[in-house]
Symmetry: C2
Subunit: 101 residues, 2 copies
Amino acid sequence: MTYGTMIEALGAPTRRAIFEKLAEGPSSVGALASGMPVSRPAVSQHLKALKDAGLVTEKRRGTARIYSVDPKSIAELRDYFDRFWDVALDAYKRSLEGGDA
Amino acid sequence: MTYGTMIEALGAPTRRAIFEKLAEGPSSVGALASGMPVSRPAVSQHLKALKDAGLVTEKRRGTARIYSVDPKSIAELRDYFDRFWDVALDAYKRSLEGGDA
DNA sequence: GAAAAGCGTAAGTCAAGGCTTACGGAATGT
DNA sequence: ACATTCCGTAAGCCTTGACTTACGCTTTTC
């Protein structure tokens, strides 16, 4: 059920933007913030949320903190929508065949 | 870029719950609401949001309105995370190979 | 050890939005 | 024509949360 937390985390546009930037490669907080219309603390708070949701990981290098997306989390989301696709498509077919009136 | 609207719509837990119920088969508003801890108007408002996001479709039968998930929308979300998976995994590999220090 | 770099956190503000109750409107039944 | 069913919308409340500024901590550098 952890995909729920992930989707909620990605529901906020700014946070999803940060996540998509991170997908292109690991980055420090300052580097991320410099390319965004919000302050660095805001980015820091979003990164905490993404980390709590299991979407990103953090490692330290000097005084900097390098964030990276966790590939496993993306796989989990992908699998979720894969299963969803199966269920919905099955229900869709049944509804066309007149499973209900 | 329409997947953004979809993810934002699914970011709200109650709305995602409605969407997941609908995935099991088409349903009327009242039937959906009777199985949920929120009022019928609340469900109605969420359905409007889901419809605006292109996640569900509506058809009328008598006085009732039957909502169904749109399979195409799920495919779009699935494809989004598929692409995401490719990009992120590639970046992940590069980061391991020492593309940066 | 003092300064600088790079962040996280606390506190406070403010708009967004999720929920409720009340109401009105279209479609069916009698 | 009237009542009923089933639903969308309006208005309002109130919490959530995204954002800012201010501050303090840790790590490196000189």
